[in-house]
Amino acid sequence: MIILVIAEHDNHAIKNATLNTITAATQLGGEVSLLIAGKNCQAVATSAAAISGVARVLHADADQYEHHLAEELTPLVMSLTAGVSHILAPASTFGKNLLPRVAALLDVNAISDITKVESADTFVRPIYAGNALATVQSNDPVKIITVRATAFAACSTTGGSATIEAVKATDPIGISTYVSSELSKTERPELTTARIVISGGRGFGSAENFKLLEPLADKLHAAIGASRAAVDAGFMPNDYQVGQTGKIVAPELYIAVGISGAIQHLAGMKESKVIVAVNKDAEAPIFEVADYGLVADLFKFIPEFSAALDQK
């Protein structure tokens, strides 16, 4: 039984969610092959060989894989399915974009966003924005699965000694082309894998005010998040959104500042280990899920909290 994991990377480094996906793969019981497909991504393949739990790294390098277009990667994945029982990818925009396409061409179902492996064919996945959990069983010859990164621990990036095999590139398809991207540049930890996340909501009132969170985030080594209301109001870019339609996070500490706690936001953060809510409205629904609630004006809270963190 071979479990094929599709690595998410940017041709320079592997994305953290891949490590959580490998953990899920190792729970299936089989040999894990990790596909690194990109352009000039030899360094990624080399470092991936040290990831614990990976038996083989499959390295495919070609121009058409540079931007990880689903149209180009699908035939490549299809060419690697001999003896493969499961194909996994992170349930990120990358994995969600690619794997259903592969599943359709293999004529099998896809299972999205699993949070638990019950056995090699049975999985738990949230539905209705996490308001229900479904246990599903697949009888397909190949199980195609995207994995919710926050539900599995990351595997170690060292200790492994996988072989690296070059894989023959498939013919370019050419029906779609990459034009450009605007990626948020930040020195802070990735939102979905950060140990601490501090998020702001509509209460901030403006993009300018949202910047007040930055020094606080730096002090805590935290990632910054935002509610949908804050994103829709243009305070923060879309990729900061935590919630059902944004990113799902489950850090050790989640601090919600000026967020009321709409169901759609709670779906994205309620698996966090410790939740702190700060809101001036004592009746805000966010307090129903918070371990520690503080009724306060966020503009008073931020400097006070920041000062308190300085006192050891």
Binding site: R101, N109, N139, S181, K247, L253, F287, A308
Partner: protein
Amino acid sequence: MKIIVPVKRVIDANVRVRVKSDQTGVETANVKMAINPFCEIAVEQAVRCKEAGQAKEIVVVTVGPSLCQDILRTALAMGADRAILIETEPALQPLAIAKLLKALAEKEAPQMIIMGKQAIDDDNNQTGQMLSALLGWPQATFASRMELGADRVTVTREIDGGLETLSLQLPAVITVDLRLNEPRYVKLPNIMQAKKKPLAIMKPVDLGVTLPAGVKVLKVVEPPKRSAGVKVADVAELVQKLKHEAKVI
């Protein structure tokens, strides 16, 4: 240009879903249903293409029981020209739906299929990608901006790290995200007019499609409840708790 917009009927986004006590699913009896919010954005986008003179005809389609005609009427009231119900028993999964839509697309020959990125019931986020694969067309998922040219469409996608722009050859499948547009409010005269627009009903057999088996749902349960914690009086108490009780900072 003809645009097909597949839509889904789901529990209204504002309803708090309840898991059935026999663990077979969630309660849908006597629950308010609505067009899936992402599908509504897809319909709006297609209608805007038509209003801009870029599209001639918009066909909305749904797969499900007879009851689903209500959301087709909603889409017609928003500005779609005609509707198709592919009548099936409830609860088909994405692969089966993609196969039906593929057969329909081959019959209707649209230049574009615009649909929601996911339905808010099963949260699969699969059907558009599967459909695009089966047709051999390009795809742009998570669309937040769309510019239609003569034989290509340029789409900006909301991806995890920010935004990405792709150019797709037509015909193509586009799945839409929240920020693509704000769907219009449907007015009463439009609802009345929509009643007169054509709505065809067909069966999977009419499209020559054999439905594949889906994954088996063994049980559906409520997630573990998170109980409310304590209110702290001030920042000092909060920091003290985080340091010494929760030990997270």
